[in-house]
Symmetry: C2
Subunit: 346 residues, 2 copies
């Protein structure tokens, strides 16, 4: 990702091409750029530079007598070296804060809202992945008998997620015992993640030889068998209609396969999951993406965290020709904000 060290002028012209193309969606010609520079350079000169840029594979011509269009490689260079990051505007900031003011909202509502806001502000689709259970710290585990051998297991995470499972046990269990288990769990679990809790229980189980052993064993059975362990992490997707309005998707069959890919959420799960390692904003441009339906799209993602722990991902997805600077600023701001909102929930 080192800077191939273009001359200043080349950079300026390339930036101008990218930005012009992002704005208009039309291949951009030498005249247009010359005009942008107030004719301080002639179209012919621009053309020479363009020929160079084309040799570097930063731009290409859709056909011989058309203007230039940035390639994936070009966009990559642009976002890595040329793009000026911009802060979100005051109005946008206020809008976001107002949207999250509602105190009574639960996690689901908040996440849904976040994805809607991203899509509104970036004019591309917003995508929010719910806090991953395996990264979340535990806050509370409730065990309650709802029928002779049915137990309601309730789990609250630090990010305000409340999950329930009803699990059927083999024998019967009495309420007092259940209370002892849940008291024990709650006294120990503070700040652990689910997998840490599992490890903890396993370890204790090996050390323990007293009557407490049975209790521990039951606790483990309850926690590990609950369906929420096979966490079907949810994804909130909003604003597909923005994408399909873009001219690059006027081709119906392209549109169709994109939609299908989006409906098949698991694709995105993997994709977002991969980004949870690593700091800051991730950008995936066009062909860099793992599956072909979205290889004319770019995805901007950023983790959100509670405390230091990254627990989920928010992002924006649109055509490669999207306003990267805007998307980056929005996604990064929202990820930050969402982390805070969810912490307060916990």
């Amino acid at each position: 990702m080192k800077d191939p060290d273009l001359t200043e002028r080349k950079k300026k012209i390339f930036s101008a091409i990218v930005e012009e193309y992002i704005n208009t969606g039309e291949p951009v010609g030498s005249r247009t750029i010359a005009q942008k520079f107030r004719w301080s350079l002639s179209p012919a000169t621009i053309r020479n530079v363009m020929a160079d840029l084309e040799e570097d594979a930063f731009i290409l011509q859709p056909h011989t007598s058309a203007g230039r269009v940035p390639t994936d490689k070009g966009y990559r260079y642009y976002v890595d070296h040329l793009m000026e990051l911009r802060r979100i505007t005051k109005e946008e900031e206020e809008f976001i804060q107002k949207s999250f003011r509602d105190k009574n909202a639960d996690q689901e509502t908040i996440l849904e809202r976040a994805s809607k806001i991203i899509s509104l502000l970036t004019k591309v689709a917003g995508i929010v992945m719910a806090p991953r259970l395996r990264c979340s710290t535990l806050k509370f585990i409730g065990l309650k008998l709802v029928a002779p051998s049915k137990i309601l297991v309730t789990l609250i995470t630090g990010s305000g997620l409340i999950k329930n499972s009803i699990i059927e046990i083999d024998g019967e269990i009495n309420e007092a015992e259940l209370n002892r288990i849940s008291e024990f769990l709650n006294s120990e679990l503070e700040g652990m993640t689910l997998s840490e809790l599992r490890a903890f229980l396993t370890r204790r189980l090996l050390e323990e030889r007293t009557s407490f052993y049975i209790l521990l064993k039951k606790a483990m059975g309850l926690i590990l068998n609950a369906p929420f362990m096979k966490s079907d992490d949810r994804i909130f997707f909003e604003g597909i209609s923005y994408i399909i309005q873009q001219p690059e998707f006027s081709n119906i069959s392209k549109m169709g396969s994109l939609l299908k890919a989006i409906e098949e959420e698991t694709n995105f799960l993997e994709l977002l999951d991969a980004d949870i390692e690593g700091e800051g904003v991730h950008i995936h441009i066009g062909k860099e993406n793992p599956f072909k339906e979205i290889q004319e799209c770019s995805i901007i993602t950023c983790n959100y965290s509670i405390g230091r722990q990254a627990i989920g991902t928010v992002g924006a997805i649109g055509p490669t020709r999207m306003e990267y600077d805007r998307a980056v600023s929005v996604v990064s701001y929202i990820s930050d904000f969402l982390g805070k909102v969810l912490s307060e929930l916990g």
Copy 2:
């Protein structure tokens, strides 16, 4: 909805037109129909009948020299009087049953699956509305102190829905008292709906003058303030990609506004909500629909019930040119089946 009493022949020809159009998507001409009748009638004769049908506004010509296309009124007559209901096939039945075999699935998973199945079998979009809280009977209410003045309210309905809210109370409350409240509620609520419970508490509150009064009052506060009372009924939507593949939506802007309407779920909430009154399958054709984005679509809905109580709605939505007989059979079968699956969950 009375039969305008067409002659037998007219009906047969009209049916043939509708079915042919549904299959091909092309305006159907007199030749095609004559062929379908193995030339027992000449195209010229068919044309005469068609002219009549056009006068009745059952069909129309997109332009002078084109074949005929059914109107909304035509479809309406077709589904009301001509369409032959068909049972779902053995294979489809098996497929559905297999899909719901998983014992550990929670309500959300089941509903999602139902909408996916509808879309798979009907080849149009499937839509499932989660059980309406206000129609569901209560099974269990759990109250649990998670912090000095924070109470986790858990509610389980007869349809297997588990809902949680954390509510903050003004003063403090001790665990023993909380247990008394929840015991009281659970002993009384069996089979009530939420609104019945509310009414019940209000009534008791008026009668009661003992120390129990305070308890009741607290119970009411807890139940009625919980966010789940403002039930944001969820909708599961699957298979939009089927719709956009249809030629009638090859027009991008039409597609766009349809998608937007779908993303704005509240529209559909109202629509489905209205259908919960009344038995059996409801069909809404084209312009009969309340908002313009879906006036080239038809919606087939059917309630699902637990016991006798209708609690939610499933449906299929596709272009007016859809296979009504197939959609009706699938939707009606699934609604039945879903009711049973959810009952077992409760």
